[in-house]
Amino acid sequence: MNIIEVRNLCYAYEDDEPALDNVSLDIAAGKTTAVLGGNGAGKSTLFLNLNGVLTPKSGTMFFEGCQVTYGKKEMLELRRKIGIVFQDPDDQLFSASVTKDISFGLMKLGLTREDIQERVDRVVRQTGIGDLVSKPTHALSFGQKKRVAIAGVLVMQPSVIILDEPTAGLDPQGVSEILHLLQEIKDSMGITVIISTHEIDLVPLYCDDVIVLDKGRVVFSGTPAQLFAEPALLRAHNLRLPRINHLMNILHNKDHLAVDTSASTISTARASIKNLVSAKENI
């Protein structure tokens, strides 16, 4: 089932040329979708259109099967259900107090103080920021701020969480922690995850679907395997193959080894190479 369907959406900043040009796409519920594309391709603009901060110039959007209208009440509801974690946490965290920042947005839901505290505590535990809550926001590191920003969106219990370049600027440890957190959010809470990223290598590991944008147009949508089967398309839109997949292609095309050219992760590549080796030994 698709939780979000976008049809012929166009958007332009003021009188510039369109930042989004006739975009149509589907986001499957309960999956992780990656949005790829070079700098200025329109990823951030698309995300802001998806939760109604920017109003499309034309086109329609369906959320959970219903057409999205841009009334005030509907907008608030949509923004509660589709949360965005921004690229720069300093743009998102407006309070010097971690707890207060997380509680923002909950206050309007008509919950009691205890319920709010309870939900804040739960999300603090879930995102592993327990030892940060007593510190002021400006004393946190970049990665820690990022976690707090995620907590502030997660606490609203959205159906969809959108993360704009969640791994940019993090160290390798930080990257894998954030991605595990996202995996867990998806698996245990059934939240649909949409991320934009420039790190192709993590797409086959963590993402179920991929959408490629270029100059505001959707140029591909499908599974990672389908995408990586078309190296020419990747090159045409300033992307590249995952390193592992590139290696498998070279082994296949240049060295004429019968490896699986669709393998893009370490584990699938390893299985394919082991297969090949044991087949050779058996002869």
Binding site: N51, F94, S95, K100, P136
Partner: protein
Amino acid sequence: MSGIDKYAYQSKLARVNAGTKLLFTLASMAVCLSFSSVLVSTLTIAVMSAATLILGGCRLRCYIRLLMIPFAFLVTGTITIIVGRISQPTQALVSIPLLGARYGVSADSLKTGVIIFLRAFGAVTCLYFFSLNTPMNSLLSLLRRKTPGLFVELMELCYRFIFVVWEEAGKIHTAQASRLGYDGFMRSLHSMGDLVTNVFLRVFRRVDRVTAALESRGFEGNFELLAEQEESSRLLEGLAIAATMFLIIIGLLERLLT
């Protein structure tokens, strides 16, 4: 994060109700200022410093370093009171003739100077107790309960974004300095101008992004936030009352006995 701001968050009293600390500060300060007494002022300095150092856990070295700043001001201020023109030469402790009059230190001026110094220094230690043990976040929570919302919301936003803008200015400064932007007076002026312009432009752009982020979280024009949980400290309350009473009694006894 700098100086006092940092110590306040590290204080052992950081999470204690800010109201209690404010009352303690104001009460002891009132006592110290209303008895013009060397004894009461000295005791206030001792009590408040002990509270900051022992209850708050501030490191002695940091505390002394921070106290040196007002100390220097107070010393220069009181020197002008202690040293002055002397009308009756018999009262002079030290004096020198200058332009037909005598200038120096008399017993009276010395006493006034010392008392003023100790009262002011006592008040400073009271205020330091509050600032070194109350993080801005908890002060803002206290204000939120008593002052118009808009005012506190502005303060909260300022307090958050001061650090963001400061960091941004720091980055621009480093970038300029690493390309010799501050080499020579004229060049420095030029670079400083560029820096200010750039910070302004960046602030404008950031306002857009912050607004977008707030809107996407359902912002409707008011910042209703969960008040942080604060511990009410019976221990601190008890100690505060005891210390204030102690200072008042000492002050009254001194008055009665002399």
